[in-house]
Amino acid sequence: MEVNWPDWLNFDWLDLGWLELPWVDTNWFHDNWYGLLLLGFFWGVVVFTMVGALTAVYVYVERKVSARIQGRLGPMETGPHGLLQTLVDVVKLAVKEDVRPAAADALAFRLAPLLVVVPAVMAFVVVPFGVPMVIRDLNVGILYFLAVPSVTGVGLLLAGWASYDNYSFLGGLRASAQFISYEIPRTLAVVTVVMLSGSLSSAGLIGAQADTTWFVLLLPLSFVIYAVTTLAEVNRVPFDIPEAESELVAGFHTEYSGFRWSLFFLGEYASLTTASAFAVALFFGGGLGPVLPPVVWFVLKTAVIVFFAVVLRFTLPRFRQDQLMALAWKYFLPLSLVNLLLAGLVMKAVF
């Protein structure tokens, strides 16, 4: 995707520059299949590690914020202000016994956490961190971002089914019913953005916003739909019915323990991160911004959105299952269809 970037966005020295070390022939990586495979592997490791680290940070921030909202202190014992708490938790989870119920289906039980976490991490490939910089700018990047995480629905369903447990089964059914229901309005909201950007690549998306303005100003309704449905997709409050502790114990991952359980946890936070990062790319111009380099802008914007999601968790009550489904099909789907029409008109007005 060729984009003509405005001059003031010229931050070439920052984007990918650090990768082109003088003693490394970067072309080699792009010319050979094994080079490409290695490059992909390298980025996979980087992204996965980053996601893991980010999750640890999130958990800490979430605990502290919730403590602040509820007038508590939160973790204080391990490290200064409890900074090492998550690290200790990770060690505990890693060395905990891995219990698989005797009646569980071994194949599905093992496969399910992987199906939840791997797609969530793979979606990172197309997130535009800097202005021209994407880990890999696919021609169909935006579709990739929606298609790959949709596999998670299978993982949720399998996890609940494999456990041989009434509560997990119900939790899995509810989780994937919710997942598929909110996928439609969310996708339709993204379609409106694609209409305006005129391309499916994520670099093209940022380029179109550099040409006009942030799409949130042109399509406010799309952003509202995307934000709310994304909360539902990643099972955040007020849409955390699948894991409603007071009703379903812990939902589809009741029977999971130790490292396997932490994979579900990681997947959930990873998809929250990707979804927030992509919300920035879709509606807030990605890394576009004055003075500071794009990467900094991007991280700042994403952090604001994630923080908003964290605060939301401790301020809203939970929906009931029937309300949840009615909200998806009777409010958001018609709304997003109307929004599609509106976006067509906006598009004709702007371009």
């Binding site: 010319d31 579709l143 298609a147 596999v151 369903l157």
Partner: protein
């Protein structure tokens, strides 16, 4: 370099995965394994689409099949609660089935080698833009007909599953 040999090798690798997964899906007697193998098969086919310069179709394959049809099949499996611990029955026509399958497969493979096909043309880079134009111009009928089929499908399926009259 990424020449056609590499392309063919990768295509064959995906093809091998697809064939093995399809065999597993058809031959296993446990329904859940069959569905999991089916998912692997679909992903391998998506890889083949991507290599054949149909990146859009490949992702649609993942989106609709793996994220949609497989979920639907799993729902049906759970709602009908069949074949869950005990293996499924296999019909008595296995010999006949094998003969027919060998015949069909042999004929198709023979036909594949018998053809003198032209070299592949130059593929446009931005497949999506061309696809969109195709849907709005030459293939408009297909586009709208899919709409009608979808409408018919949802009405029919709801009528069947709810067991009531139109």
């Amino acid at each position: 370099m990424l020449d056609s040999d590499v392309q063919i090798a990768l295509f064959a690798a995906f093809g091998g995965i697809a064939v093995i997964a399809a065999l597993a899906a058809v031959l296993t007697r446990y329904l859940l394994r069959s569905i999991v193998a089916f998912g692997a098969f679909l992903t391998a086919i998506a890889g083949q689409f991507y290599i054949l310069a149909a990146d859009f179709v490949a992702l649609i394959q993942i989106f609709v099949y793996v994220g949609g049809v497989v979920v639907l099949i799993l729902f049906a499996l759970m709602l009908s609660a069949v074949g869950q611990k005990h293996p499924l029955a296999v019909s008595e026509h296995r010999g006949l089935g094998a003969v027919v399958a060998y015949a069909v497969g042999g004929w198709l493979v023979w036909a594949a080698f018998g053809q003198d096909l032209p070299k592949a043309g130059q593929v446009p880079g931005e497949t999506v833009a061309f696809l969109g134009r195709a849907f709005l111009d030459q293939q408009l009928v297909a586009f709208e007909v899919i709409g009608i089929i979808l409408l018919a499908a949802v009405v029919a399926a709801l009528v069947i599953v709810r067991g009531e009259r139109l």
